[in-house]
Structure formats: C-alpha cells, structure tokens
Assembly symmetry: C2
Homo-oligomer: 692 residues x 2
C-alpha cells in the first residue's frame, strides 16, 4: 500500500536518547540541555535539514531547535529542560532545496569560464537559468513568510530575476546576502517533511536525582544512651552534625509499629527476648501499619518537627517504604486476600525454601483484589508525601510486581513530580534496570561488591554511559545495615581505616549519588555477625542495629567524619562530581592503583585546530575537571606512572599543566600524559583539580 | 492509569532479531532455523516460562516453541522457516507457579529432618501442606487440559492429596513423576501471561539470497568478433562456459534502446562518433524505454530463449534496472511532469555541479503525479517478472526516494516472493543500510576499496554480525564496469595475476554472495582509462565496455578462470562458505597475512565438559568449517605463525587436527593454536577444510 504522501524522501532513524524504542522515558534533571541525535538522510545529493520540536507535557505549543550536521549522516540538536516532569520531542526533516541550490550555485559560479582568467577546468554554466530557479525558491519562501519577511524574500526573488535577465557573460560574486539566506532558511518548505515515528519522552527530575549525599541512621539509636530508645527529637539533635558533614538526605529505616509474633532477637536470633526491639522492617502491629508511627519514636507532631528541622539545616528526610507486613499488620485482618492463603487457611509467610521468615507476610500481586491493593500501596506514599516527605528509599522493590511500580510512581509524581525514589534492589541486572526504566529515580548498585580495579572500571563504564545512563542512576553505598563487605572485616585499625577511607573516596568521586550507613561507617564498624549455616562468611554486622539499640563514640580519634566532610565539600564545589557524564578511566601499570577523571565538558576532538576544535578547547578551559587516583591496597604504599588520556581532561596531548590535590592542598606541575604518583594507605587517594 | 490486567508480572524486552524496533523485518532464508532471544524476567523468586508463537503470513494458526533459559535472564527459542515470505512472531511469558512449587518441594524434601539421619542443617518443613498446594496446582492444570490429559492431571492431584493426608513424619522421594511434570507444563496457566509489545516480522527469501555467484557481462560484446554487435543468441553460446565456471546468476547491463542525444563516445568522450554504441544506461529511444529491447540484441523471442537457456544450465538471468531516461525516452514526452522542469520549460538533466550529464534525465520523486510514476516504475519490474526474470540488479537505487523502494519491492514480492534485488549503491552507510531495510535482498559493499588487513577485518566484522547481518546481505565484487581499483592497475603480469587471484579468493571466501564483471576479471583487464580533471587517478577501464564493443581472448594462458572454477566448486561443496554467520578473524603477526574461518556451527562454549559443552562438541564434529589464509602482498612470499581461536573451529584448545587445502589437495597435521604458514603470490591463499 502506498503511503499517503510518497514525497517524504527523508529518513529519520536511530533517535537518541530513546529507551526500548520509546517504551520508557529517558531521564534528565532540571537545567540540563538535552542533546538529541539521529541519523537523518535522503536519497541522492540533495541537502537535508531538520528541526527538533520539544514541549513540556503541560505546554500546548512546541519549541523548535535546528539540527546541525555531524559526520556520517548523524545530526544533533539541543533543547533546555527547565521544568520538572515529562517532556516530549519529535523530529521533522525535509529536503532543503534552497540550501542545495545555494551550494550548487557556489560551484557553478566557481566553474563558469572567466573571460579574464581562462582555465582548462572551467565548464560552461547556464547561470541565468540557475538564478531563475533560485528566484522561484525565494518566491515560494516568500509565500510561506509573513509581513516584512515575505516582502523581503519576494524582493530578493525579483532581484535574482533581474540579474538573470542581464544575461551576463560572467557572473562575479555570490548574488544572495547572508541575511536573505538565513531568512529563507527560517521559512522551510515542510510540505514533504518526514516526521519521526513517535514522540519520545524525557522525564525531568530535580537536581537531587543526579547529585545527592545520603546518610542513613537508625532513629532508635539516636539517644546514644545505653538502653534508651531514641526518638525523633533525638534525631533532630543529630541533624547539625550530619549537616556539617555535608549530607543532604537523612534516611531512616521504617518508623512504623513493629510486629510481635516471631519477632527476631538480637543478632537475628529466632526468638526475641523481653525488651528486644525487633526489626523495623517487620511492619505493622495493633498500633497500625505503614501510615502509623512506632510510639517509642514519638508523635506525628514530633515527626513534622523533624521534617521541618531537616529543611532548616538544608537537608531533607527520606523514609523507607517496605511493602511487607508483620502478622499483626491491620491489612492482614482487613484484606486477607491481599496475601497468599494456603490450603489450610493460613497466610503464607515469606520463604526462600527451606528458609522461613515467619515474621513477614509478603503481599500477593496476583490477588483478585489487585486494584485495591495497588491503591492502598499508593496511599502509603501519598500519606507521607502529604506530611512533607519527598524522598523514599524503597525496600526490595524487585519482589513486588514491576508493572505496579510503573503505575504507582507515576501516580505519586502526578501531584508531586519532585519526589525521588531510590530502589533498594540487589538483584540481576535486567531486574535492576527494569525498576529504573519503570520510574525509580536512583538505584542501589553492585559497587559494594566491586572491589578490584578491573571490575570497578568495567562496572562504572557500563552504568555511566548510554544506554544505561539514560535510565539508571547509580547511588553507591560502601555499606548498608545489611551489607558489611568482607573487605571491612579487618581487625587492624590502620588497615581498617585505610579501607573505609578508600571506599568512601571511591563512592564520592565515582558517582553523583552516594550514601553511607552511619555512624557505623565513619566510626569504622567492621565486626561481622555470626556466620549463617552453609555460608562461608557473614555480611551482617555484629550487634546489628537491625535488631537492637546501639550507642556510638562520636569522639573516637579514628573517626573518618573529617574526611567525609571534606569529600562532601569537594563535591559541593565541583560540578564534575555531581554527575556521571564524561567519566574516563586512565591507565596505570599497577593493578592496585585506579585512575579516573570526570569533567563538565566532553572529551576534546582529535582535531583541535579547526573551528570546532577551538570551541572545544575554549569550553574545556572553563570546565570543571577532577582527576582521582586511589590506592586499592589498604596495607602498602603503591606507586606508578599514570598514563593520562589528555583529551578527556580537556588538554592537548603535550600540555604542561597544574593539578591541585583537594584533599591536601598540594599542587604539582605535570608535563604531558605520563606522570608519577605514589599513595600511602594512610590517605589512599589524590583528588586532583585540573588548575585552569 | 492502571493497566487492564495488573497481574501480568513478567517483562519481555530486548527481543532479537528486531530491526529499528520492529519497523523493518529481519531477513532469513528458507530452511533456516530462526533463533529468537529476549530478556524475560519477573519480580521476586518465582520461576518464569515463555513460549514463542510464530506464523507464516498466509497461515491462520500459530506454531509454538518453548523458550529455554540462558544466563542472566536471557532466553532463546527457535522456529523453522520453511516457506518464502513474511513470518511473524511474538512472545508469551508467564510466572510458572507449578515449576516454582516443584523446585521448592525438592528443597523442602532435602531440608526436612530425617529421623534416621539427624542433621544440624535440617529445617522443619510442613510437607503435607506443600503437597496440598501442589495438588491444587495440578488440579487447576487438569481444568485447563482436555480428555485423557485432564483425567491424568486430576488423578495426580488426588494422589498428592492422599499422600498429604498420610501426614508422615518423613517424606522420602519426590512424589510427582516426570510424565506428570511434563504434562502439567504443557497446560500452563496463561491468565496473567505477558505478551510482547508488537508482532515482529521475518522476511524469508530463497537460498540464492544468501548464497550466490554472479557473473556480469555485456551482451553486445558476446559476439567476440571485432566490430560485430553481440546478440542474445551470442550470450546463449557463452552460457555453457559460464556455467562450467560455477556461476549461478548471469547479469546483463541494460538491454534497452539507447538514447542518441548527447550520446557518449568511446572512453566516455563527450560526443559520440558515427557507429559509437553509447552507454546502455542512457535508456530510451524512439524504439521504446524500460520495457523495450535494443534491436541489435535481438527480439523478445530471443530474450525468452535466453531466459530458458540459462535455466537449462542451472543458472538464471539478472537484469539491470536503471530508473533514468535518455532524452528520447517515451516517458519524457508522455509524462514530462515525472521530471524536473526548469523555468525555461526544459527538462533538468543529471548534474553534479559543475558536472553535467546531459544524456540522462533523472526522475522527479517529488512529482505531483508521483502515484502514477511509482506505478510505472513498478510496472517495469512487473513486465520483466512476467517474462520470467526473478533477479534484478538495481542501478543507483540511492538516488531514488527510499520510501518508493519499500513500496515497490514489496509490491513485486506480493506475486513473486522469490524475486531478488541487488542494490548497486556505493554511498554512505546509513543510506546503504536503509535500502537493505527497505527490502533490497543484497547490496554492493565497500569491499572493492577495503584492501588492507585491518580494514577488511573491521568491515566484515561489522557486516557479518547483528544488527547489520539481520538486514544487510553483502554481495562483494572485486571489480565492476565502473570500478577498476588502483590495485589492479599493474603492468607486471605476475603481480597483476597475484592481485586478481587474491581479490577473488577473498570475495569467494568472505561472503556468501559475490560476483565478478567478466571477462575483464578472469582475463586480468587492468588498463585504466583517462584520468578525469581534478582526480588523482581513474577507476575507469581503458576502452570500457560501457561505451564500446570489446573482444576477449578466452584462451589466454594467464586466465584465472580455472581458479574461479575451483573456488565456485569449493563454495558449492562447503555450506560454511554459503553464509556469513560464524565468521571469525584469527591473529597472525604479519600485516600481509589475513586469516579467517567460517563454520556452520557456532563457536564452542568455554565449558566443554558440561552437557551443553558436550552437545556443542558433537555438533562441531559434524560441522563444515573452512579456514582461509590469504597473502595480501602480490609481490612477495609472506610467512607467519597463525594464532587460531580454536573454539570457532569447533576444536578444544590443545587439539591436534588435520587441515586439507582445497586449492591444492595438500594435507597438514596441525597441533594446537599456533601453526606456521607461508604463501607465495603465485597462489596467494590456503583454503583449508578442517578434516573431522
């Protein structure tokens, strides 16, 4: 079957950013310039032109941006996203007859025999005829234009006709002014313009989606007095210190009533003793469920004050949403059909056969009443959003139906588009990426288990580049209450301090989003819990706060809070560290040294002499560029010759340049790509600024 | 907005083969098994299952194939395509509760405390309850089944219930037979099955689309008598020799009346002399256009005899379709609006300013009468299809509107799906690939200009692998009437012969489809035509057949027809050379030696001990595998140690094996991956068969 209009000769394909053929939106943050690229081409030798049409979902009109040509039929256009929410874009492309004519005319004029300067390469040209063709094109542009523009184009057409009528033996000089060319260009002939197959979407978050420093704490430990249950008021007292360290988000594990049946005791013992506080993730008791507060923590008034106090300190509170129920959760009685009911009428607890987690009932996403279940779960977010919370860390989202998340997160964002969702999913890559595609703002990562140089390089190369970087934003955590990596389980204090320092430096310089579970982190908590039967080692903490109150010695001399404070200050001052674009690993012939740079400017082109190269050099001179070198060996000093990929630092290959170590203030003059570094575990990194 | 069914928990994404999100079909040939892969996963730990539904466009029912699991949430299923035309496929995937239950039960049985063999790792299990859950699942499968199957499933459910009621202290042995498991598996619960977003298509061609040997000749030179215009009858006489060389397709440049105005003379001189025969691509004269014959070649009766004679020799005829018109083409008068009319009323000839091609009028694909133009062009194909032609080489398709081709080729295939179209497009990659996506069966390539080892490896790696290989089928030509590469322009006969041999060996062993322009090729024609002004060298032939009659000395002792005959025989005997899948380049530390293998079996997995590895070894033992080594230096003997990537030869790393050189019959025993080769320009290649 023929198309409705067969004269649309331009093909538009391979549009980026585009996730799964447009099934999901790509992600950006407010203030970004979104660069759209596509292959745009037509048959034959005619020139093509294209424009991007873009629009915020709430707008009724479209903005436009012209595409510029890149090599090999690729084109790029950029548009600014200055508001939260969904943006749409599409492409129109057409054969640009005026531009083709214009470029051909230059060739014709150059080739016409010049009576005053005969040349064997000259080819007779019918210039008057070419001028009359151009006049027709300008006249048609005039028909499309309005007012003064129309008159100007029509006049230019007449001028060309007049010139044609003179029928000169030789036409010197290009007969159309730049102004007229530009004017004609602004009234393109779109009759046969091709349009991209479908509108593509960009979801635009606030800046905190891309750049955030998280601090996790157990509020019930905030009293910091042996045996005293902490409260929201105690957390409030901790806020100045957390803000002083430079954190922006204070995240608390669940704050709801905790179930009593099958409550876990200290160190995850099967049965709790009297006075054991239980796991905050066993949500729900007679006092209520996901929209109630654990009475020991305080009242809603206390909670509201805490939300406000965080704001006063320039921070915000993140809550933990864990969609699972303790046996006493009100939903269990009110909606038993939201759970799996076994043949004996009992409700199915969580299992990973043969292991049983009888304190937890998972929700059944195949419930016949799924619509009400979805509404109730959405209602939990809505409840806390209405109390001022805009950041949620979601527990194990990968054990809840993926289509549910896509609906639920979009529903929350309808009224609160600034809401951020961090997916606590440690599972297979496709599932983690699917959560991100379905709407999660950020995701936990495999960083915790990527400890060697090669695996760190491979992993961050994957997640910091398209296509993954267009939908998945890593939030890297050296530790969590569930994960004390074997690396940290070191008795020797100096070595332990070296590894804690190393990992937080990696986190803070490799990723725009990172977090720590404190005070365990800054105070170097490394004692592993009991090993589970059949496991080779434990990633649990001894005396884990998941099951008991803890106190902490904030004044310990070995605390790395000062380093963390410094790292967060460096992150605040350096936009290169607030995003993951333009990350580049550099080589060094020492497997214990890892070297990488981040920059606000893209890599220099190999040709730095042309106009584009000069512009790139000028942009690089204004760019923020951070070069980090980390010693991965917590025991020994490691040295090596770093081999820098200079274009990614915005530097010509042979350049001499200065670097300043932002951790020590030391400055070095480096010459060209090869430079010596040596790092001692006591301060296992350089975080260099390229001095411009 | 909630989905209609929120309980579809499985995600299906990244389906391959898929071209531009399903915009174009992927290509295969009759007899292929199409392997479809996709990422298929769900939330949580439940097992998933999936099936492929496939159907020929003319079928009303769907075949099914179950997916098997690959690592990392990837799945694969295969279906056979046994007929020409469009096939469709889609995927259904679901949570497999029975399989999850079954696998959990194994774990439960293994973990239950055994009174006769106490273990500290035992965990008490409610086996009877688990059995009752299984009984419910079998019962539900019985509800979905019919007849005897239903009864068998229901009986199995009852058995499980009976077993549960016994409430044994210990359950020994797995209580469900493999037969019941398999039966339950064949009645899956599809209520909440997810389905792939859209049906994807495969276009299935006949074998000749993938494996073809082309021979191009000018019929007007076929008389081979000085000054005598050849005829179809003369071509007929040449057929036995061409068939004897092993060619399958005989392709003739345009056979239509040739224009007289601005006719080109010998060696592309601007004006023809009396008796000059002109370029066959200047189509159309008083005698007719694209559906007429040049009277000098013969009548339609002669043409029909030639078509039949080719078939008698096991070959077929390919025609050249060049959609452009000489000034006398009947369309020019009948349909001036199919051309571009200039302001002076004249018709625009072909130009590439400042160059003019006044003997050619290009068609205007922006004609207001485009619908009739499209029909007329389609009518040209239809005319020749109706005369028995099923192979078309299309001249410069990239200068005609791409949407036209998509429509036109599909239209021809509606009644003649066996028709093959070869795109003669030497242009930018996106345009060449777009022609292929739009329906061209095969395309000319950059092979002609890829003469160095690195560029050959890079180019064939790109085109012989997905995604390109799913839509673009290379047809590689060492020469064409338009292209005599500088490499061939060598005076020294031995050196010239070496390079002609080298290039045809590369073509015949690197690509399932290849062709030569003869007799120029087998007779080593290497004399370049006059250099064009402003060009550094000519790729034209001296005394090119494009502009004049030629005679050839078929008995010349230097003819490489015997080598070509041998290559075509090797190709006929070795299916590995009849396709481009499983092509692998091997390393050798000599830039003048290039080494590559092709096999009918994919590379062995790294684990060759497991069941999959053993199956792969067994398949490799039956596979056809060809290893080619070519000396790219036409002047000197080149030697080196080849480093073979053994898995791609279907051989374990340390294997000792025999190779047979199919060009010489010599056999060698090789040990492991490192082996010495030395090649003399007189016969610059080994074409080894791996002896099994």
């Amino acid at each position: 079957m023929k198309p409705i209009e067969g004269r649309r000769r331009v093909i538009v394909e391979g549009i980026q950013p585009q996730i799964d053929g447009g099934r999901y939106p790509a992600k950006r943050t407010v203030g970004d310039n979104v660069t759209v690229t596509a292959a745009i081409f037509s048959d034959g030798h005619d020139h093509v032109a294209a424009r991007l049409l873009y629009s915020h979902a709430s707008d009724t009109t479209w903005g436009t941006a012209r595409f510029t040509e890149l090599p090999n039929d690729m084109w790029a256009a950029t548009f600014p996203v200055d508001r939260l929410g969904t943006w749409r874009f599409k492409i129109e492309a057409w054969v640009d007859h005026f531009d083709t004519w214009s470029s051909d005319l230059v060739k014709r004029l150059g080739a016409q025999p010049d009576p005053t300067n005969p040349s064997a390469n000259a080819v007779p040209q019918d210039i008057p005829l070419a001028l009359r063709i151009g006049a027709n094109l300008l006249d048609a542009a005039g028909d499309r234009a309005r007012g003064a523009d129309a008159a100007q184009l029509k006049a230019a057409a007449t001028d060309l006709c007049t010139l044609a009528e003179q029928n000169l033996p030789y036409y010197a000089g290009y007969p159309v002014s730049d102004e007229i060319i530009s004017l004609a260009d602004s009234y393109p002939d779109l009759r046969f313009a091709a349009r991209s197959d479908r509108e593509l979407e960009i979801w635009v978050d606030r800046e905190r989606a891309r750049y955030s420093n998280w601090y996790e704490l157990f509020p019930r430990s905030a009293a910091n007095v042996e045996g005293v249950h902490g409260t929201f008021k105690d957390v409030e007292k901790r806020l100045p210190a957390i803000a002083a360290m430079g954190f922006q988000i204070v995240y608390m594990p669940p704050i709801h009533p905790i179930g009593r049946s099958y409550r876990k005791g200290k160190n995850n013992s099967v049965s709790a003793l009297d006075g054991d506080v239980g796991s905050p993730w066993a949500i729900g008791a007679a006092e209520g469920g996901h929209t109630a507060l654990l009475p020991e923590l305080g009242t809603f008034a206390d909670f509201d004050l805490l939300v406000a106090a965080a704001q006063t300190h320039g921070m915000e509170l993140a809550l933990d949403v864990a969609f699972q129920c303790a046996p006493e959760h009100p939903w269990v009685k009110e909606h038993p059909d939201w759970f799996i009911i076994r043949p004996d009428g009992s409700i199915q607890y969580a299992e990973n056969p043969p292991k049983k987690y009888q304190d937890i009932y998972p929700l059944n996403f195949e419930s016949p009443d799924w619509r009400n279940l979805w509404e109730a779960l959405y209602g939990v977010f809505k409840f806390w959003v209405d109390r001022g919370v805009r950041v949620f860390r979601v527990d194990n989202p990968h054990t809840k139906a993926l289509p549910f998340w896509e609906w639920c997160l979009a529903e929350v964002r309808k009224s609160a588009p600034e809401t951020l969702f961090l997916a606590e999913a440690f599972t297979r890559p496709h599932v983690m990426y699917s959560l991100a595609k379905g709407g999660y703002t950020q995701g936990y990562t495999y960083f915790t288990w990527r400890t060697g140089k090669a695996e760190l390089e491979a992993y961050f190369t994957e997640i910091n580049n398209a296509p993954v970087a267009d939908f998945f934003r890593p939030n890297v955590w050296p530790n969590t209450p569930d994960i004390l990596h074997a690396q940290f389980q070191v008795e020797d204090l100096a070595e332990r301090r070296a590894i804690f320092q190393q990992r937080v430096i990696l986190a803070a310089t490799l990723s725009g989003n990172y977090g720590i579970y404190g005070p365990a982190y800054e105070l170097l908590e490394g004692r592993p819990g009991p090993t589970m039967p059949g496991k080779s080692g434990s990633e649990e903490y001894l005396d884990s706060e998941k099951y008991q109150l803890r106190t902490w010695d904030f004044d310990a001399p070995y605390s790395i809070a000062p380093l963390i404070t410094q790292l967060n200050a460096i992150r605040a001052a350096h936009p290169a560290l607030q995003a993951n674009a333009n990350t580049r690993f550099h080589t060094v012939a020492n497997d214990q040294l890892i070297v990488y740079s981040k920059s606000t400017a893209p890599e220099l082109p190999s040709d730095q002499l042309g106009a584009k190269g000069q512009a790139a050099l000028a942009a690089a001179a204004k760019a923020d560029t951070i070069l980090t070198v980390v010693n991965l060996d917590p025991k020994n000093t490691q040295s090596g010759i770093v081999n820098l990929w200079m274009p990614s630092l915005g530097l010509p290959w042979e350049d001499s340049f200065e670097v300043e170590d932002l951790l020590t203030g030391a400055r070095y003059r480096w010459n060209g790509q090869y430079n010596y570094v040596s790092l001692n575990p006591a301060l296992p990194a350089h975080v260099f600024r390229i001095v411009r």
